[in-house]
Chain length 701, copies 2
C-alpha cells in the first residue's frame, strides 16, 4: 500500500470516528431524563415544526436538484454528445451526493438540537449550569461532528472512486447549491418569525420574550433550529468541502506534473487532523459552577487550534511535506482567529462600539442605525486586511515551491482556517440550542433560577456566534480566492481539449483588469451580492408583514388569548406554516438570480469576463457580508446592553431605539449576511464547472 492509500484509509476512519463520537454524544444526551410535561410538549411542537419545514424545503430542493442534475447530465463537464457519457454520469452522481450529504448533516443537526434544547432547559431547572451547558454544547457538537465527518467522508469517497478533480468540484457544487437554499430559506424563516413575534409581542403588546401566548413563539424557536442549526451547518459543510476541493484540484494538477502524491496527501492529512483536533477540543469542554461559559467555549477553540498545529507539524516532519505549505495553513488559522477577535471587538458589549451605539440610541432610532452602520463599515477593514494579508503571505510563502504552488498555498491557507470547523460548528449550534432552552424555560415556567442560567448561556452563545461568523466569512473568502486558481486551471484544461492551445501551454495566465471583458465582469459581479441580499431581505419583509397580520388576527379572534386565560392556546401551526411557505417562495428567485447572472455574463463575455465576475463577486460579497453580519451582532448586543439596565434600561427611549436597530440587524446577520458566503461559493463552483462551455460559446469572448 502506498502512503496515499494509508492516509485515505485513516481519513475515512477518522470520518467514521466523528460519526461514532456524534452517536455517543447523542446517547449521552438522550440519557438525560426530561419530566416536565409542558416542556416535553412544547419541545415536541418545535421539533415537529422544524421537521415540517425541513421536509418541505428538501422536497422543493429535490425538484430543483433534479433539474440541475439533468442539466449536468446533459452538459457537464462537456455536452454529452461531445464528451464521454461516463464523465457526465460521474459528475451527476457527485453532484447528487453533495446535496445528499449536506441534507443528511442538516437532518442530524435538527434531530439532535430539538432534543438537546429541552434537556438543557430541564437541566437548568434541576441540576444547575454545568449540565445545562453541557447539554447545549454536546448537542451542538453532534452537529459539528456530523458536518465535518460527512464532508471528510464525502470528499474521500469521491476522490478514492474517481480520482478526478472535476468530480470533486461537482460534489462541492452539490453541497454549495444545497447550502445556498438552506441558508437563505432557513434565514428567511427564522427572521420572519423572530421579527414578527417581537413586533407584536414585545413592541405592541409589551409581552416578555418567549411568552407562550404569542402565536409566533413556537415558529420563532423553530426558526433558530432551521436557520442557525441546519442553515449554518449547510453553510459550513459547503465552505469546508469547497476548501478541500479547491486545494485538491490544484494538488492533483501539481502532483501530475511533479509525480508522486505529496500535495494530495497534504490536503487529506491536514483536513483529517483538523477533525481529530476538533474531537479532542469538544472533549475538553466542561463548565464549572460559577465559571464563564464564553471562556469555556473559547478555551476549547484554543485547545483545538494548538492540537492542530502540533499534529500537522508532526505529520509534516514525518511525511516530508513542505514546511512552507504548513506555514500557509498556520497563517490561515491565525488570521481566522484574528478576524474572529476583531469581530468580537465590534460586537462585544464591553467594548466601545456597542456602548457608543447604546448611548447614541438615547437620541432616537435614526442614531442607532447611523452609528451602527458606521461602526460596521469600519469593522470590514481589519477582516478584509486579514484576508488580504493571509492571501499575500501564503502566496509569497509557497511561490518558491514552483509554478502553481502559490495558488495552492492560498487554498491550503483556507484549509488551515477551516481546520477547526468542527469546533466552530459546535460553538455555533450551541447558540440556538440554549436560545431554545431559554424559550422553553420561559414557556414551561421552569423558574427564575433556570431563566437566569439559560440567559447566561444564551448570552455566551451570542458572543461566540459573532466570532464564528467572522471565521466563516473569512474562510469563504480565502476559499473562493483559491477557487479563482481552480477556475483558471479548468479553463486551461478545457482549452487544450478543445484544441485552442497545445498541451503544456496556457490560454489564461491570469485576469487582466485592463481587459475590458474582465472589467465588465468585475463591475457586474460586484453588484450581484447587493441584489441577492436585497432579495432575501425583501423576502423577510414581505413574509413578516403576512405573519404580523396573522398574529393580530389570532389575538383578535381567539378569546382569552391576550389575557392568558387558562387552557387557551394560540394556533402555533398557522404561524409556522406562513413562515415555511413564505421562505420557500422567496428563496428560489434570489438563488436563481445569482446563478442566472453568472451564466449570462459567461455567455456574453466568455471565460475572461467570468474571471472578473468572480473577483467582483468576492470583493463586494466579503464587504457586504462582513458589514451586515457585524451590524446585526452589534445592534443585537447594544439592545441587550440596554436591557441589562444601562442607558435607561428596558422601556426607555434608548431601548425602543435599540429594538429598531435589532430588528433591522436581524435579517442582516441571520439572513442576508451569511447567505452571501454561499452565494459566492456557488457562483465560483458553477464557473469552474461551466468553464468549458463558456470557452466554446460566448458573444464577446
Amino acid at each position: 500500500m502506498d502512503q496515499l492509500t494509508v492516509i485515505l484509509i485513516v481519513s475515512f476512519a477518522v470520518g467514521i470516528l466523528a460519526f461514532i463520537v456524534a452517536w455517543l454524544l447523542y446517547r449521552w444526551l438522550v440519557g438525560i431524563k426530561v419530566e416536565n410535561k409542558r416542556a416535553i410538549e412544547l419541545s415536541k411542537l418545535i421539533r415537529e415544526g422544524s421537521n415540517t419545514f425541513l421536509k418541505r424545503e428538501y422536497r422543493y430542493l429535490a425538484y430543483f436538484s433534479l433539474v440541475v442534475a439533468c442539466l449536468i447530465l446533459l452538459f457537464l463537464p462537456k455536452p454529452i454528445w461531445q464528451g464521454s457519457v461516463l464523465d457526465n454520469i460521474t459528475m451527476t452522481l457527485a453532484y447528487i451526493s453533495g446535496t445528499a450529504f449536506s441534507g443528511l448533516a442538516g437532518k442530524i443537526g435538527i434531530a439532535v438540537a430539538t432534543r438537546a434544547n429541552v434537556r438543557s432547559a430541564e437541566a437548568a431547572a434541576k441540576h444547575g449550569i454545568s449540565l445545562s451547558f453541557l447539554s447545549g454544547f454536546r448537542g451542538g457538537a453532534v452537529m459539528g461532528m456530523a458536518v465535518v465527518g460527512a464532508s471528510l467522508l464525502g470528499v474521500c469517497a469521491i476522490y478514492a472512486l474517481t480520482g478526478d478533480a472535476l468530480a470533486l468540484l461537482g460534489f462541492s457544487f452539490g453541497a454549495s447549491s444545497m447550502a445556498l437554499f438552506a441558508k437563505a430559506g432557513g434565514g428567511i424563516f427564522t427572521k420572519t418569525a423572530d421579527i414578527s413575534a417581537d413586533l407584536v409581542g414585545k413592541v405592541t403588546l409589551g409581552m416578555p420574550e418567549d411568552d407562550p401566548r404569542n402565536p409566533a413563539v413556537i415558529a420563532d424557536n423553530v426558526g433558530d433550529n432551521v436557520g442557525d442549526v441546519a442553515g449554518m451547518g449547510a453553510d459550513l459543510f459547503d465552505s469546508n468541502v469547497a476548501a478541500m476541493a479547491a486545494a485538491l484540484v490544484m494538488g492533483i494538477s501539481l502532483d501530475q506534473q511533479a509525480g508522486g502524491n505529496l500535495n494530495i496527501m497534504t490536503v487529506f492529512c491536514y483536513a483529517t487532523v483538523g477533525l481529530l483536533a476538533s474531537i479532542i477540543g469538544v472533549g475538553t469542554a466542561r463548565l464549572k459552577e460559577g465559571a464563564n461559559p464564553t471562556r469555556v467555549l473559547n478555551f476549547s477553540t484554543y485547545v483545538t487550534t494548538i492540537v492542530y498545529l502540533i499534529l500537522t507539524a508532526g505529520l509534516t516532519a514525518l511525511f516530508n511535506f513542505s514546511w512552507r505549505v504548513w506555514g500557509a495553513a498556520a497563517i490561515g488559522l491565525a488570521v481566522g482567529l484574528i478576524i474572529g477577535l476583531t469581530t468580537d471587538y465590534f460586537t462585544n458589549d464591553e467594548r466601545p462600539p456597542v456602548r457608543t451605539v447604546a448611548k447614541m440610541s438615547k437620541s432616537g432610532p435614526a442614531f442607532t442605525i447611523l452609528s451602527g452602520i458606521s461602526y460596521s463599515f469600519i469593522s470590514v477593514l481589519p477582516a478584509m486586511l486579514g484576508i488580504a494579508v493571509a492571501a499575500l503571505l501564503s502566496y509569497t510563502l509557497c511561490s518558491p515551491l514552483g509554478d502553481g504552488y502559490a495558488m495552492y498555498g492560498i487554498a491550503m491557507s483556507a484549509v488551515g482556517m477551516l481546520s477547526i470547523v468542527g469546533m466552530i460548528i459546535s460553538n455555533d449550534a450551541y447558540g440556538p440550542i440554549v436560545d431554545n432552552a431559554r424559550g422553553l424555560v420561559e414557556m414551561a415556567d421552569l423558574g427564575d433560577e433556570a431563566l437566569e442560567i439559560t440567559d447566561e448561556l444564551d448570552s455566551a452563545g451570542n458572543t461566540v456566534k459573532a466570532i464564528t461568523k467572522g471565521f466563516a466569512i473569512g474562510a469563504a473568502g480565502l476559499t473562493v480566492i483559491s477557487m479563482l486558481g481552480a477556475y483558471m486551471t479548468e479553463v486551461n484544461v478545457a482549452a487544450v481539449e478543445q484544441g485552442i492551445i497545445k498541451a503544456g501551454e496556457s490560454l489564461l495566465e491570469g485576469f487582466d483588469i485592463i481587459n475590458p471583458l474582465v472589467f465588465f465582469g468585475l463591475i457586474v459581479g460586484a453588484a450581484v451580492p447587493a441584489v441577492f441580499s436585497a432579495m432575501l431581505m425583501r423576502g423577510v419583509d414581505r413574509n413578516a408583514v403576512r405573519m404580523v397580520k396573522e398574529i393580530h388576527r389570532q389575538f383578535d379572534e381567539i378569546e382569552g388569548l391576550k389575557e392568558g386565560k387558562e387552557g387557551v392556546v394560540p394556533e402555533y401551526d398557522k404561524c409556522i406554516s406562513i413562515a415555511t411557505n413564505g421562505a420557500l417562495r422567496e428563496l428560489i428567485p434570489a438563488g436563481l438570480f445569482a446563478i442566472v447572472a453568472t451564466i449570462v455574463v459567461g455567455f456574453i463575455g466568455g471565460v475572461s469576463a467570468i474571471g472578473g465576475f468572480l473577483t467582483g463577486n468576492i470583493v463586494s460579497g466579503l464587504l457586504l457580508s462582513l458589514f451586515m453580519s457585524n451590524a446585526g451582532g452589534l445592534w443585537d448586543n447594544a439592545k441587550k446592553y440596554i436591557e441589562a439596565g444601562n442607558c435607561g434600561g428596558t422601556g426607555s427611549e434608548a431601548h425602543k431605539a435599540a429594538v429598531v436597530g435589532d430588528t433591522v440587524g436581524d435579517p442582516f446577520k441571520d439572513t442576508a449576511g451569511p447567505s452571501i458566503n454561499t452565494q459566492i461559493t456557488v457562483v465560483s463552483l458553477l464557473s469552474s464547472l461551466m468553464a468549458s462551455i463558456f470557452l466554446a460559446f460566448s458573444l464577446f469572448g
Copy 2:
C-alpha cells in the same frame, strides 16, 4: 496657426464666454428688487454664515495645501535631487492652480446662491412662479457656468503653458484634493444642521420646517449652500477636470506616437462644445404659469444633449476626427442619461419603490430602513451595469483604432458623459437655492401662496437632484476607470526613465488579478470607501449630538423663545459655529485616511498593488456611493409622499417611521455617498502622480 492653436483659442474664448454669461445672469438676478426687510435680514444671516464657514474652511485647506505643495515640490514628479527642479516647480504651481480655481468657483457659487434665494422667495410672493423659478435656476446657472468655465480655462491654460501630461494630473489633483474636503466638510456641516434642526424642532417640539424660533434654522440654510452649492460644485469641477485630464494624458501619448494633434484636439473640441451646449440649454429654460418645473429642467437637459451631439458630429466631420471616438462620447452621454433615469425610478414618489417604503413604514421604522436598504441595494445594479456596458462598448469601439485607443475611448466616454455638466450643475445648484427660498418664505412669513410655489419648486429640485447625483457618480466611475489607463501609462514612462525597461517597452501590460500583490491591493482598496464614509457619518453623528444639546440649551435658557414671543431671537450664530468647527475637525481624518492608505499600500505592494487598490476602490466606491445616494433620496421622498397625505399623513406612525428613514438617509445622500466620488478621484490621481516613487521604493513590489 495650426488647428490645435485655433481650437485652444476658441476653447479659451468659450471659457471666458461662460464667465460673461455668468456675469449677465448675476446682473439680471441682482436687478430684481427685494423689499421685505425680514427676508433681507435673514438672507444676510445665511450669506454671512456661509461666508464664515467658507473662510474658515479655506483657511484650513490653505494650510493643508501648503503642506502638500511643499511635498510635491520636494518629491513630485521625481525627488527634486534626482529630476529637474523646473518640473517640480511646474507641478507645484499646477497643483496650487487646481485648488485655487476650485475655491474660486465655490466662492462665486455661494455669492450668487445666497443672493438668489431671497429673490426667488420674494418673486414667489409678488410675481408668481415664473420669476421665482427663473431666479432659482439662473442663480444655479451662474454656478454651472463658473465651474465649467473655470475647468475649461484651467485645463487650457495648463496645457498651453506646459504641454505636459503630468502637469495636467497635478492640476487635477489640486482640484480633487480641494473637492475631497469641500464635499466632505460641506456635507458634514449641512447634515449636522439639518438633522439637529429636524430632531429638536420637528420631532421633539412639533414645530414646522424652517420655523424661525429654531436656533438651528439658519445653520440649516447655510448648510444647503456650503454642502450642495459649494461642495457639489467642487465635486463636479473635480470630475470634469479629471475626465479631461485623463483623456488628455492618453491623447498626448497617442499623438506623440502617431504624430499630429488629432486626439488632443478632439478632447478640447468636445469639452468646449459641451460648455457651449450648456449655455444654450440654460438659455432655453422658461417656466410658464401652471407648467411643471421638473419638466422644464429636464427639457433643458435634453436640449443640451441634442445640441451637443449635433455640434460634435459636425466638428468630427469638419476636422476628420474618428467617428469611433464620437461614438464613445455619445455612448457615455446616453449611459449617463440611463443611469439618471434609473436613479429616478428608485427615488420618484410615483414609482413602486418610494410607495412601498412608505407603506412599509406603517409597521414601524425598522421596516422603513429595511425596505429602503433593500431597494437601494437593488438600485446599484442598473447603474453599475450601465457603467460596465459603457466601458465595454467604448473600449470595443475604439480598440480597432490602434494600441492604446481602447482606454482613450473609455476616457472620451467619460468626457461625453460630463459634457453637459454645466447644465447638470445648474440643475443641481437650483435645488438648494429654492430650498433656501422656501425657508425664507416661511421665516419671513411671506404668505401661503408663496409657500405653495416654493414648495413646488423645491420638490422639483429634489427630483432633479437624484438624477444629477446618479450622473455624477456614473461620470466619476468612468473617469477613474480611464484613470487606470493613465496610471499605467505613467508607470511605464517612469520605468523607462528609471532604466528598468528600454524605451518602447512596457513594464506593465495590465494588472493581473491572480498576481497576489494586485489581489492584496484589490481587497484593501475595496475596504477604504466603507471606512471613509463611516468616518464622515460618525462625524455627522458626533457633531449633531453637540448641536442638539446647544439647541435644547437655547430653548431652556432663552425666555419666550419656545413660545415665539415677539422680539425674542435665538442665537443662530452659536449653531453655525458648532457646525463649522465640528465639520472642519471631522473632515481632516477621513480625507487623510484615504490618502495615507494609498501611500501605505504603494510602499508595501508597489505599482501592481496600487493597480489592484484603485480597482477595488472604484468597485466598492461605486457600489457604496450608489447605494447611499439612492437610499437617501428614496427615504427623503417616502417621507414627503406621506406628508402629502398618504399612508396616514403627517403625524401618523408611518410618518414618524419615515422621519427616521429620512434622518438616516440625510448623511447617506448628502455627506457620505457623494463624497466617495471625490475620494476615488483623489486616490486615482495621487497614484498616477506617485507612480514613479512607488516604482522606486516598495517592500514587496
